[in-house]
């Protein structure tokens, strides 16, 4: 089986800045890491490879600046076989549709997969739209919020999906796109051997000219959504402190007044 995993590099620190002009994230000079939720997608791919055995190969694909090869190597260190980086200035400013188009073209360049995995969402953009959009563009079965892969063989798979109030068991044909939730597994730590292998692995880089997408459908021009304004809200909580030891009744009254104020009682 051929497995692909989409991983995104995200800013590690909380002090993310947005370019006020273009409404896109400033990535230069910000420490970056592999999106924490993508670790679960990588882990699931490696577990499937262990389960399915011989002939299973995992390719990691990322779109991002040249430094994003670090995220690809981090995934290889966990047990993926190959990497591919899509990097070009002309990809900058992509919204989720332009990102999905570019990634879908990258997947095709890599030869396509039986199973494509993504994280539930990236911790910066937080839309959770890229995975299902890539799946739709490539015509795959789209399965979101996957919390377990029960079986994957003979052209079909059975997964569990975490939805409101419980889990669905769903059967779907391969090839399929799965976006996975964090409850699916606990990601492994990478071994020293894995790190050495990752360091030695060559990561091919493809740019806009390598993909069959017209330039007007890439990057900022190819993005239907425009971020027109950003603001930094202060999470203000009134933080009123009341000691129950002084007066238990007083404390209860304070709670009741909040409940009334919010229309709950």
């Amino acid at each position: 089986m051929r497995i692909g995993v989409l991983v995104k590099q995200v800013p590690a620190t909380e002090n993310v800045r947005i370019d006020e002009e273009t409404g896109t994230m400033v990535r230069e000079g910000v420490e970056a890491e592999l999106n924490p939720l993508d670790l679960h997608a990588v882990e699931e791919a490696v577990r499937l490879k262990d389960r399915l055995g011989e002939g299973t190969e995992i390719t990691v694909i990322s779109m991002g600046p040249p430094q994003a090869q670090k995220a690809v190597r981090a995934a290889i260190a966990m047990g993926c076989d190959r990497g591919l980086l899509l990097s070009d200035r002309r990809f900058a400013g992509s919204d989720t549709l332009a990102t999905a188009r570019t990634l879908a073209a990258g997947v095709q360049k890599a030869g396509g997969f039986d199973l494509l995995l993504s994280g539930e969402r990236a911790t910066d953009g937080e839309t959770g739209q890229v995975g299902p959009a890539v799946g739709q563009i490539l015509g795959l079965s789209v399965l979101t919020f996957v919390s377990a892969v029960e079986s994957a063989a003979k052209g079909s798979l059975v997964v569990r999906r975490a939805v409101e109030g419980g889990h669905e068991r769903v059967e779907a044909p391969l090839p399929a796109m799965l976006s996975v939730v964090k409850e699916i597994n606990t990601p492994r730590l990478c071994t020293l051997g894995g790190k050495i292998r990752a360091k030695k692995t060559e990561i091919p880089v493809l740019g806009a000219d390598d993909l069959p997408i017209p330039p007007e459908l890439l990057g900022l021009p190819g993005s239907p959504t425009k971020v027109v304004k950003v603001s930094y809200p202060q999470i203000t909580r009134s933080g009123k402190k009341v000691a129950a030891a002084d007066s238990l009744n007083g404390a209860v009254e304070e709670i009741l007044s909040v409940l009334r104020g919010r229309g709950i009682v």
Partner: protein, 330 residues
């Protein structure tokens, strides 16, 4: 050609054969948008045997309802639902199409917008109209709530977004409202799905699923023992809420995993979150800091949970909660 696209649409959500109340929240948003633009508000209803419920959508603000009532649509599936919606959108051309940011909304809309090649804004908490440009103005938090972004889709149609549940109250039901219920057809190719729902495994929880709950009463290690969670269940029952838990409480088997809130559990956005004997570790805050209002009860005046609390009660949960229950009952 954008002028061919007129009207505001909301996607109704059906769970277990019934219209889910988030559909009415969307109609409240949609009503504002449609009135500002001076266009009709239409609700889209997909399901099996759902036609008789369509008038409820009129009662809650829709001018018309497009219904596709077909046994193939009995259960939500990404492919059949998105193909059917694409057919309706291409037939009737709404300028705006909004859905709830629930598991099904966050699945079908990303598939649909990629098919239609338009823009999709995720998990909005505020919607408005830029009347000068006749554009939908979509506001959403990103980067862990550190940033609020205003987003527009200037050129492509429809302008699509998902909207965070509980970001608006439904309109009061108005039984005197009238509207049109329009039975729509979709081609067999749209209605068919490659997916098969084998089984639904419900969680054994008190109250509504955590992600839907308006009020969450959550307990941590400070509850001292599992039996004390009965207090939280009683309080949740009185407030019409559900019970949540910290990971420590779940690890101790005081509560099921399905009620765990936080990084390795659920992200919740209730109107009110009452944290009882929870210290407020970052991994816990990751799942609940987007709650509208937070009340925390903790014996430690320095507990980190107090930093995200609107009301901090320094005290013993085993005294405060029974006293609160007593007052609510009397």
């Amino acid at each position: 050609m954008n002028e061919e696209y007129r009207g505001v649409w909301t996607l109704s959500e059906v769970r277990e054969g019934r219209i889910h109340p988030v559909s009415y929240e969307l109609l409240a948003w949609g009503r504002d948008l449609a009135d500002t633009l001076g266009v009709p508000l239409s609700a889209v209803l997909l399901g099996s045997g759902v036609t008789e419920q369509a008038p409820e959508l009129i009662v809650h603000g829709a001018d018309q309802v497009y219904v596709v009532d077909d046994p193939n649509l009995a259960h939500f599936k990404a492919d059949s639902f998105s193909k059917t919606l694409a057919e309706l959108v291409n037939r009737h051309r709404p300028e705006i199409f909004i859905a709830s940011a629930t598991s099904s909304g966050r699945t079908v809309m990303p598939v649909l917008y990629a098919d239609l090649e338009t823009g999709l804004t995720a998990d909005c908490t505020e919607l408005g109209i830029d009347t000068k440009e006749r554009l939908l103005l979509q506001t959403r938090p990103a980067i862990g709530g550190n940033v609020m972004a205003d987003i527009k889709t200037p050129l492509r149609r429809p302008q699509m977004c998902t909207v965070r549940p509980r970001s608006k109250k439904p309109l009061p039901p108005d039984r005197s409202r009238t509207g049109r219920i329009i039975a729509e057809k979709a081609v067999p190719g749209s209605l068919s799905s490659v997916m098969k729902l084998l089984e639904f495994l419900p969680e054994k929880n008190v109250g509504a699923p955590l992600q839907d709950a308006e009020v969450i009463v959550a307990g941590g290690k400070g509850m001292k023992k599992g039996a004390n969670f009965a207090l939280l269940e009683e309080l949740a029952g009185l407030l019409g809420g559900s019970v949540g838990a910290s990971r420590t409480a779940v690890d101790l088997n005081w509560a099921p995993y399905s009620s765990q809130v936080g990084l390795s559990g659920k992200s919740v956005t209730p109107k009110l979150y009452i944290a009882c004997g929870i210290s407020g570790a970052v991994q816990h805050l990751a799942g609940m800091s987007a709650a509208d209002t937070v009340i925390a009860v903790n014996t430690d005046p320095e507990a980190p949970i107090f930093r995200v609390a609107d009301l901090a009660i320094v005290g013993d949960v085993l005294e405060v909660i029974p006293a609160l229950i007593g007052r609510l009952k009397s």
